[in-house]
């Protein structure tokens, strides 16, 4: 599963990257929003429009056509609204090139707003004075008209004052319409003469107050006209329009650049899409081809599979035949080994049989000797006597003569307990025969070719049988047995015999005269039975120890051993589901431990006391 994921991951990643690039290119290619551009242009156009109207309204206010300043107030919120919308549209898309232009527009708006505020203030003052100066002169006229009739000189001066005031008013109003600097200076001088004239003319505050009012406002007009015109010039020179145009140009430039960029990306997108398409087509082609290849390979595989199956079948048969052969050879080998082992024992067995055979023979010879001697004479004498006595014709002396002969034989027998001896001899003979028969029975048991005949048996019984067979081999060795009551095992008894015969024989060979061989059975645990075969012999050298279970390994002289003994032991143990361990110390002794599983049909013997394992040096 994980491996599959790991295998799929790079593919998925590559696909994600390809699609990501496609998406990025698409986004880049459509980054230019024409609607946005139109809106921006519309806002800029409207800003210019508002600005133009603002200018017109300023001029209208200047000319007195606008009755109030409200028209000068309303453009600013409009401009701010447009500016806000513009900012919203340009949020995040303003290129550095357009940013200063935008700032310039803002600055122009601020500057213009400021100038227009000044214009309103100045214009209001100017208009107030312009409105008032004719009234002021009229008031002066009215005052003068009511004065100085009595005094012609004074009347003349007053008339001169009036005339000067009228002329000045005309000049002021003309100046208001056609302002120029030199006129202002001249008018300023003229205005300055009015107050002294009024003082000359007399008439006190009645004349001086209106003149002072007129002079003040005339001076305001002279000053304000210039100021207002200057403000007006600045207003008209404050180029919101130009800045807006520059902003428009900058934005247009940005837009064109963006459009070009977007176009480039579009081309790139096209190329990329084509590439992807080609890739896809190629992948499709590959896929179809792969399918074909897969189909073909599948077919071939199927064929191969079938032929393989056939071949496997053939080979299996060959193998099973070979296995059969092998099994045959193996059992042959085992049998051979058994026979070889037996062969080794034959001498001993022959000797063993020889001894009882010898005294059976001697007994029988003695019995025969006895029988051929006095006994036969006695029997013959007695038979002759019986024959004579049965025949009524027989003379008495013949009878007595025969009787005499019989007595003589009997007398010879008297000092000679023939019957007892014969009985004893026969008993000995029977005993010898029994012994021989025992050996023969065990040999038969041992050699029985019954591999497949599994039986439940106690390991101790097997060991007893083995020891019996091995008795000749063990001559001169002390054999100790420490048998526990172990659970029965499922085994082929002859094979178990073969195991232990082998081990015991080896032990005997390793120990020599006076050696001690110990056989211990024990339960290692409720499920296993172990047999320790321990000797105090020469031990197995360390370099030999690892090889002892190898087939055809032997330390014996050529012809003495097959080298198969322990390997067969190993094999048999294995076949019984057991295990074999060996522990050896050179010069101290060797201990083989063979472990068998207890018969599965029965639980382990519960009351069996595990016998402690006895060390080889014990």
């Amino acid at each position: 599963m994980n491996a599959r994921v790991m295998k799929l991951a790079p593919g998925a990643l590559a696909a994600a990257v390809l699609i990501g690039v496609l998406g990025a290119l698409y986004a880049k290619s459509s980054a230019v929003d024409v609607g946005k551009k139109n809106r921006v242009e519309s806002y800029l156009r409207q800003m210019k429009q508002v600005d133009a109207e603002w200018n017109v309204d300023v001029l209208k206010s200047r000319m007195g056509i606008n009755a109030n300043y409200d028209p000068l107030v309303s453009p600013l919120p409009q401009l701010h609204k447009l500016r806000t919308r513009l900012s919203a549209e340009l949020a995040g898309v303003v290129d550095p090139a357009a940013a200063p232009a935008l700032d310039a527009v803002d600055a122009a708006i601020d500057r213009k707003t400021d100038l227009i505020e000044r214009f309103k203030s100045e214009n209001a003052i100017l208009r107030n004075s312009l409105r008032y100066v004719p009234t002021a002169v009229s008031e002066l006229d009215a005052t003068i008209a009511g004065l100085g009739r009595a005094d012609p000189a004074r009347a003349q001066r007053l008339a001169a004052l009036k005339s000067r005031a009228d002329a000045t008013l005309t000049g002021i109003l003309r100046y208001n319409l056609f302002p120029d600097r030199s006129t202002a200076a001249a008018l300023g001088a003229e205005v300055a003469t009015l107050a002294p004239l009024a003082a000359d003319a007399g008439g006190g505050d009645d004349v001086a107050q209106p003149v002072a009012n007129f002079v003040r406002h005339a001076q305001v007009i002279l000053a304000q006209r210039a100021v207002e015109d200057s403000v007006l010039t600045q207003i008209l020179a404050t180029p919101i329009n130009a800045d807006v145009d520059r902003l428009g140009a900058a934005l247009d430039h940005d837009f064109t650049a963006a459009l070009e960029r977007s176009n480039r990306y579009r081309h790139l997108l096209l190329a990329y899409a084509s590439l992807l398409l080609a890739l896809l087509a190629y992948a499709g082609y590959r896929l179809v081809r792969s399918f074909r290849v897969i189909a073909r390979v599948n077919h071939e595989l199927k064929d191969a599979n079938e032929s393989l199956e056939r071949r496997v079948h053939e080979r299996t048969e060959e193998l099973s035949q070979a296995l059969d052969h092998l099994k045959e050879s193996e059992s042959q080998l085992v049998q051979n080994e058994k026979m070889a082992s037996l062969g080794q024992m034959v001498a001993g067995v022959a000797h063993e049989i020889n001894t009882p055979l010898a005294y059976v023979r001697s007994s029988l010879e003695t019995v025969q000797m006895h029988f051929d001697g006095v006994l036969r004479e006695f029997v013959t004498a007695m038979a002759g006597l019986v024959d004579l006595m049965r025949d009524p014709e027989t003379p008495d002396d013949a009878i007595s003569g025969q009787f005499e002969t019989a007595v003589a034989v009997r007398d010879r027998l008297e000092g000679f307990p023939v019957a007892d001896e014969i009985t004893s001899l026969l008993r000995d003979g029977v005993h010898g025969v029994d012994e021989i028969s025992g050996i023969v029975v065990n040999l038969k048991d041992f050699s029985r070719h019954d591999r497949s005949q599994m039986a439940r048996c106690a390991i101790e019984d097997c060991l007893a049988s083995t020891l019996q067979i091995a008795k000749p081999v063990l001559a001169g060795r002390r054999v100790r047995t420490l048998f526990a009551r172990t659970a029965p095992i499922q085994c082929a008894p002859s094979q178990i015999n073969q195991i232990f015969l082998n081990l015991v024989t080896n032990a005997a060979q390793a120990t020599g005269e006076g050696g001690v061989i110990t056989l211990v059975t024990r339960m290692t645990d409720p499920r296993h039975v172990a047999v320790d075969v321990t000797d105090n012999g020469s031990g197995i050298p360390d370099d030999v120890l690892p090889k002892i279970f190898d087939p055809f390994f032997t330390t014996k002289a050529v012809g003495e051993g097959t080298g198969l003994g322990l390997s067969i032991v190993y094999k048999i143990v294995e076949q019984h589901g057991g295990s074999i361990r060996v522990h050896s110390r050179s010069g101290v002794g060797t201990k083989f431990t063979v472990t068998f599983p207890v018969d599965t049909g029965e639980a382990a013997v519960l009351d069996s006391q595990p016998v402690p394992e006895i060390g080889i040096a014990a």
Partner: protein
Amino acid sequence: MKSRLFVALAAGIALAAGAGSALAGNAAEPLRPLPEHLGLNPGKVELGSLLFVDKRLSADDTIACSSCHDFSHGGADPRPRSVGIHGATSAVNAPTVFNSGLNFRELWSGSAPSLEAFVTGVVQNPKVFGSKWSDVVVKISRDPDLSVRFARLYGNGVTRDNIVDAIATYTRSLVTPSRFDRYLRGDTRAITAGEAQGYERFKSYGCIACHQGVNVGGNMYQKFGVMGDYFRDHGHDTPADQGRYAVTGRDSDRHVFKVPSLRNVALTAPYFHDGSAPTLEAAVDVMFRYQLGRAAPPADKALIVEFLKTLTGERQPVLAKAVPEAPAQNAVASASHSGARSMQ
């Protein structure tokens, strides 16, 4: 006589439609009636009306907008100086909130470009509300009624900007159509002959030069003391007297103030940024002396005062419902003629 003719001609051109005998309703009239439709969201107006009297706008819950903008006093403060949090006094007299939505800028110095800017600033002003907006938002959010209203009217509930918007919207609704508006709309009998004469004096003496437009002022700056040094004569020249100079730092802006609207002027004494004129008559005298630079017969000034009284208006009844203080409406209504409901 030739020169006299020229004078008449030149004056005529110069003044154009200005001080002439313009008829009421004429498009060239320097004063214009209040708009008939405001197009405001009624829910926001009502919400703003609640916030307008809400003392939680101030740091110690003692001051509301209505504390200084007294509806029974034409929406202005009867005290020459307003009193903010912890007894702090303001530097100038609080102007009226009525029709303030029509001003081109707010405050005497015009430092607030909009009602929104003004409200945003005044809540944080340590001498007025002394609050932190974050605290105000928390306090208002805890009000179940208000927070539900905010949630309903604004997508994002109680925020600084939404509180500001509600108050500004409500303030914009505080327009006061008057008899004079009806006169401007052609109802020549809406004002008396004397008041009409007063209006003519108002124009001919030049008051109209600054007090013009829909709000009778409130659309420009002007120097206080064009024709005389008001501050020298009155013996003070405090930082607050510097006017717009405090904002721009330009010498030409010294003593320049926003020209106030004259709507409801009869109710909003004391007058001027320094609250120095206790009566309308006194204020008119100061204006004649320092702004117009001329004298006028007392009768003419009286006529002008009569005219100014026609600018006292009435808050639109549909909006008055949302305002808790009933007396405010009475005060305004008392100055208006019965049946003055043409503005609805």
